[in-house]
C-alpha cells in the first residue's frame, strides 16, 4: 500500500471516530434515572430494584465519596447526566445546595412524610434516614449517670478514657456544628480542647474501631453513630457480638435540647433531565416499604414516623432528638473543622 493511501486511510478512520463520538449514544432517556450516591451499603441495591419493579424505570447507580460526586456534578455542568444526589450527611447536601447543584422540589407527599427539621426549608434536599451520634461506654467501668450530655465529655475526670474518630469525618463536623449552634464558637472550642485532653489515643480508624477499642479495654468511652453499635450486635462473628454486648449506649442531652441526629438524604440535581422520575424516586424512598429497608438493612432510624424499627434500636427505646434544622449545623462545618484544628483534634 502506498504511503499516500495509508495516510488517507488513517485520516478517514480518525474522522469517522470523531463524528461517531459526537453522535450521542441512543438511550431511552425517559425510562431511567442516574443516581449519584455516597451511601455504600449493599442493602441499597434492593431499594433501587424495588423502584424499578414498581415503575419500570431503571436506576443507574454511581457511587463514590460525596465530595467527589459533588465535584463531578459541578464539572459536568449543564451536560451532567446526574438526576439525584444521595449523601450520608446533611453537611454535604447543604454544600451541594450552596454550589447551586440542586433544585428545589416540593410535593405534598414529601412534605407530609419528612419531618420539618430533617429537610431543607426550601425543599432543596430531603432526609431519608436518621442516625444518632451517641455515647457508647463500657458497662461496669463507667456509670452512665455521669455522662448525661456531650458537654460532660470534656470533664477532666475522663482523662485518657475517651476515643473518637478523626475530625476529618463529616459525622464529627456536623456534631461540632450543632454544638456551635447551641453553645457558641468560644465555648465549643473550650469543650473541644477538654475533649482532646481526654483522648486515650490519637484519633484513628472509624467508629467501629472506637467501639472495639472500648470493648478491648483500650478506652472506656467512645462517640459513635447508632447503627455501628447495632451492626456489631448483629454481627456474624461471635467474638464481635460478645464484645458489643459489653457496651452500653447513652443518648446525650435528653434533659435539654436532645441528641444530635444526622440524616442521609437526597436532592434532585439542578440539571436533571429526568426530573419527574427523580421526584418519583424521592417519593418512593419515603414510602413505608423503602423506609423499612433503610431501617432493617442498615439499622438506621427511618424519618417517617410509624415505620417499624430494627429490634436492636427498639430495645434502646425512644429518645429525644435535637430538632435543630440540619441546614443550620451543616452550615457550621467549615468553622467546626477550624475549631477542631485549633484544639488539636486531628
Amino acid at each position: 500500500m502506498s504511503r499516500l493511501v495509508r495516510v488517507l486511510l488513517i485520516a478517514a478512520v480518525g474522522v469517522t471516530a470523531l463524528v461517531a463520538a459526537l453522535v450521542p449514544l441512543a438511550s431511552a432517556q425517559s425510562r431511567e434515572i442516574n443516581v449519584y450516591s455516597a451511601r455504600h451499603y449493599d442493602t441499597d441495591r434492593s431499594l433501587y430494584d424495588g423502584f424499578t419493579q414498581l415503575t419500570g424505570v431503571r436506576v443507574n447507580l454511581i457511587e463514590g465519596t460525596e465530595d467527589q460526586l459533588i465535584e463531578r456534578i459541578r464539572n459536568e455542568g449543564a451536560n451532567s447526566p446526574a438526576d439525584v444526589l444521595i449523601t450520608v450527611d446533611a453537611g454535604r447536601l447543604w454544600r451541594a445546595q450552596q454550589a447551586g447543584l440542586l433544585q428545589p422540589v416540593t410535593t405534598a407527599t414529601l412534605v407530609a412524610r419528612v419531618p420539618e427539621h430533617l429537610r431543607d426549608p426550601e425543599g432543596y434536599w430531603w432526609g431519608l434516614s436518621k442516625r444518632a451520634r451517641v455515647i457508647v461506654y463500657a458497662k461496669g467501668r463507667v456509670d452512665p449517670a455521669e455522662l448525661p450530655t456531650y458537654e460532660s465529655l470534656a470533664d477532666p475526670k475522663w482523662r485518657g478514657r475517651i476515643v473518637v474518630r478523626s475530625s476529618n469525618h463529616v459525622y464529627n463536623q456536623s456534631l461540632v456544628g450543632s454544638l456551635i449552634e447551641a453553645l457558641g464558637p468560644e465555648a465549643t472550642e473550650a469543650w473541644a480542647r477538654g475533649l482532646v485532653a481526654n483522648f486515650a489515643r490519637p484519633p484513628q480508624g472509624g467508629d467501629i474501631d472506637q467501639l472495639k477499642a472500648v470493648a478491648a479495654g483500650e478506652a472506656d468511652i467512645a462517640i459513635s453513630n447508632s447503627y455501628y453499635l447495632a451492626r456489631l450486635l448483629k454481627s456474624n462473628d461471635p467474638a464481635e457480638r460478645q464484645a458489643a454486648e459489653g457496651l452500653g449506649v447513652i443518648f446525650p442531652n435528653q434533659n435539654d435540647r436532645g441528641t444530635h441526629v444526622n440524616i442521609s438524604g437526597a436532592g434532585v440535581v439542578a440539571t436533571a433531565r429526568n426530573r419527574d422520575q427523580a421526584i418519583a424516586f424521592l417519593e418512593y424512598l419515603t414510602s413505608d416499604r423503602a423506609q423499612e429497608i433503610f431501617a432493617l438493612g442498615n439499622s438506621e432510624y427511618p424519618v417517617v414516623p410509624g415505620v417499624p424499627l430494627d429490634p436492636v434500636l427498639e430495645s434502646w427505646g425512644p429518645f429525644k432528638e435535637d430538632t435543630l434544622n440540619a441546614a443550620r449545623y451543616a452550615a457550621n462545618s467549615p468553622l467546626a473543622l477550624m475549631i477542631m484544628d485549633r484544639a488539636g483534634w486531628r
Binding site: 459526537l22 455504600h40 465530595d67 459536568e76 455542568g77 449543564a78 478491648a216 473543622l337
Partner: protein
C-alpha cells in the same frame, strides 16, 4: 581515528556552520528526528494538562485559610511527608538491592524460588497491607490479645509498637514497594557483564568489595530510578496513611479540599507535594550522574555466581524469606483467614464482572503507557533538545500527585472539553447535548496515563540508556532507517525493560482507587472499588475476598514477568 569518524566530524562541522545542528537541523532538513520533538510535546502537553490546570489555581491570591493551615497543621504535614519519603526510600533501597544481589549472584538453596517470590509483594496495594497489619497488630487484634491472655497483662503493663504511626507506615510501605527497586536492580545485575566481575576478582577484590565498588556503582541508574519510583508511590498514597492516622500532605489535601471546601488552598498544598516530587526527580538525576553507562564489549559472559556455605546460605535464605513473608504471606494470610470467617457475599457472576472490568482497564492502560513511554524516551535519545527535556519532565510529574487531585484535574479538563469545545461544535452542527469525554472509559484511561506514565517512562529510559549510541550509528551505516533500527535492533534488547514497564503499569492500575472512584462511568466497578467500599464501612472481613482477588490477579503478570526477564538477558541464549 578511522576514515569513517573523520567523515562524521566533517559532516557535523558543516552542519554547525550552517546553524543546523541538533533538532533545528532535524526539522529543517527533514531528518528522521524531526517528528520526535513534536510527538513528545503533544504527548507530554496532553498528559500535563490536568496537573497544570490544578497548579494554575496557585496564582490565585492566598486566603486566610492558608494562614490558619500554616499555623496549625502545615509543619506536621511537611515533616511527616519528608520522613515518609526518606524512610521509604532507604528501606526499599536496602531491601531491593540486597535481595536482588543475593538472588542473581549467589547460589543457595531456594534461590530459584526466591527469584520470583520476591516480586510477590508488588501485587499487594499499600492500603490493603495497611488494613491487614492494623487488623493483626492493633490493641484489639489477635497478636496483642493473645499476648495479654498469656501473660495476664493489661493496657498499662506492657509496651507494644504502635502500628498506626509514621514508623508503621514506613514499615508496611517499604515492604510492598521494595519490588520496584528489586526489579530494576535485578535487571541491571543480570545485564552486567561477567567480564567486569571477573576482572575485579583477578585484581584481588573479594565478593563483597566487588559488589560495593564495581557492581553497585554500575547499577546506580537502575537503583536510583527504582527508589525514586517507590518514594513517589509513597508520597502519592492516601489510603494507608489515612488509615494509619499519619497526617501527610496527601491527607491534608483531602481534608482542606473537602473538609474546608477550599479547592484553592488544597491546590496550594498539592503544589508543595509536587515540589517535593521535583526534588526527588532532581536527586535522581544527580544520582545518575553525568557518567554514561555502556558496555564496551558485546561478549557478555555468563555471570560467575558465588556458592554460599552453611551459615551464609542460611542468612541469605532468611534475608530473602523475610520480605516475602512480611510483605505478602502475612497480609494475604490475614485476608484468607478473614475470608474463612465470613467473606464477601458477592461471589459469582457479579464478581467476575468486576474482575473482567479491572483486567480490561489495566491491559489497555499498560499497552498505551508503554507505547507513549517509548515515544518519549526516543524523542529524548534521537532528538535531544531543551524542548524534549522539558516535556518529558512534565509528563513524568503525574506520578506523585495523589490520584484524587489528578481525577479532579482530568474531570475539569474533560468537563471543559465537553461543555466548551464540543459544546460549541455541537451547537454549530445542531446536535443534541451529551457528554463524550466525562464519565467515559477514555477519561479514566487518560487519568491512569497521567498518573502512571512515569513508571513506564523511567523504566524504558533506564533500559534505553544501556544501549550505547555506537549501536545506533552502526545500524545507520548498515542502511537501517530509524523505524527499522527501532524494530530490529533496539526492540529485542529492550524487551525486558518494556515488559517491566508494562507490568508496573498493569499492577498499579489494578490497585488504583481514588481516580477510579471519581471518574468511572456508570455501572462500572472494579475490584479495588469493592474493597474500598467495604473497608471504609469497616466491614474489613467482607472486603477480604475482593482483596485476595486483587492480589491473585496481580500475581499472574508478576510470575510471567519474572520468567521473561530471565530469558531476556542479553547473551543468555548463547549459553
Amino acid at each position: 581515528m578511522t576514515a569513517l569518524s573523520r567523515a562524521g566530524d566533517r559532516g557535523r562541522l558543516l552542519d554547525a556552520r550552517a546553524g543546523l545542528r541538533g533538532w533545528r537541523g532535524n526539522v529543517l532538513l527533514g531528518r528522521p528526528g524531526g517528528l520526535w520533538p513534536l510527538a513528545s510535546t503533544l504527548i507530554a502537553g496532553g498528559l500535563a494538562l490536568p496537573i497544570l490546570t490544578v497548579l494554575a489555581s496557585l496564582v490565585q491570591p492566598r486566603d486566610p485559610l492558608w494562614d490558619h493551615l500554616a499555623r496549625t497543621v502545615l509543619p506536621v504535614y511537611l515533616t511527616n511527608t519528608l520522613a515518609l519519603a526518606v524512610g521509604v526510600g532507604l528501606g526499599t533501597l536496602l531491601l531491593g538491592t540486597g535481595t536482588a544481589w543475593l538472588v542473581t549472584m549467589c547460589r543457595f538453596p531456594g534461590r530459584g524460588l526466591f527469584e520470583w517470590a520476591l516480586l510477590l509483594p508488588m501485587a499487594m496495594p499499600t492500603y490493603l497491607i495497611a488494613y491487614a497489619y492494623t487488623d493483626l497488630l492493633q490493641f484489639s487484634g489477635p497478636v496483642q490479645s493473645t499476648l495479654r491472655a498469656w501473660t495476664g497483662w493489661s493496657r498499662q503493663d506492657y509496651w507494644f509498637p504502635q502500628i498506626r504511626s509514621l514508623g508503621g507506615a514506613i514499615f508496611v510501605m517499604a515492604l510492598v514497594l521494595y519490588p520496584y527497586v528489586y526489579l530494576l536492580a535485578r535487571a541491571a545485575f543480570l545485564q552486567q557483564s561477567g567480564c567486569l566481575l571477573e576482572v575485579s576478582r583477578t585484581l584481588g577484590r573479594g565478593p563483597w568489595r566487588t559488589f560495593l565498588t564495581v557492581a553497585l556503582p554500575l547499577a546506580r541508574p537502575a537503583l536510583v530510578a527504582g527508589a525514586a519510583l517507590a518514594v513517589m508511590e509513597a508520597l502519592a498514597d492516601y489510603g494507608a496513611v489515612q488509615y494509619f492516622a499519619v497526617d501527610t500532605l496527601s491527607t491534608g489535601i483531602y481534608r482542606t479540599w473537602f473538609g474546608m471546601n477550599s479547592l484553592a488552598t488544597a491546590t496550594q498544598l498539592a503544589a508543595w507535594l509536587v515540589l517535593m516530587v521535583f526534588g526527588v526527580l532532581v536527586l535522581e538525576r544527580l544520582g545518575r550522574g553525568r557518567a554514561r553507562y555502556y558496555y564496551t564489549t558485546a561478549a557478555l559472559r555468563p555471570l560467575p555466581t558465588y556458592a554460599l556455605r552453611r551459615l551464609a546460605a542460611l542468612l541469605a535464605m532468611l534475608g530473602c524469606a523475610l520480605p516475602v513473608t512480611l510483605g505478602f504471606v502475612v497480609p494475604a494470610g490475614a485476608f484468607a483467614m478473614m475470608t474463612r470467617r465470613g467473606g464477601d457475599p458477592l461471589w459469582g457472576p457479579a464478581f467476575l464482572q468486576l474482575a473482567s472490568n479491572t483486567f480490561l482497564l489495566a491491559v489497555l492502560a499498560a499497552a498505551l503507557a508503554v507505547l507513549l513511554a517509548l515515544v518519549l524516551a526516543y524523542s529524548l535519545r534521537l532528538a535531544p533538545s531543551p524542548v524534549t527535556h522539558l516535556t518529558t519532565r512534565l509528563a513524568a510529574l503525574g506520578y506523585a500527585v495523589p490520584g484524587a487531585v489528578i481525577a479532579v484535574g482530568v474531570l475539569i479538563v474533560a468537563g471543559w472539553l465537553d461543555n466548551v469545545a464540543l459544546g460549541a461544535l455541537r451547537s454549530a452542527l445542531g446536535l443534541p447535548p451529551g457528554l463524550v469525554f466525562s464519565g467515559t472509559l477514555a477519561a479514566l484511561v487518560f487519568a491512569y496515563l497521567v498518573r502512571y506514565l512515569t513508571g513506564s517512562f523511567t523504566t524504558v529510559e533506564a533500559s534505553l540508556t544501556r544501549i550505547r549510541p555506537s549501536l545506533d550509528e552502526a545500524a545507520r551505516t548498515l542502511g537501517h532507517g530509524t523505524p527499522s533500527m527501532l524494530w530490529r535492533v533496539h526492540l529485542p534488547l529492550l524487551r525486558g525493560g518494556l515488559l517491566t514497564a508494562a507490568l508496573l503499569v498493569f499492577v498499579d492500575v489494578m490497585k488504583e482507587l481514588p481516580a477510579t472512584l471519581a471518574i468511572r462511568p456508570f455501572n462500572f466497578d472494579t475490584l479495588a472499588i469493592r474493597v474500598y467500599r467495604l473497608a471504609t464501612d469497616e466491614r474489613l472481613a467482607e472486603a477480604s475476598t475482593a482483596a485476595l482477588a486483587i492480589v491473585a490477579v496481580g500475581l499472574l503478570p508478576v510470575l510471567a514477568l519474572s520468567m521473561a526477564i530471565a530469558r531476556a538477558r542479553p547473551g543468555a541464549r548463547d549459553t
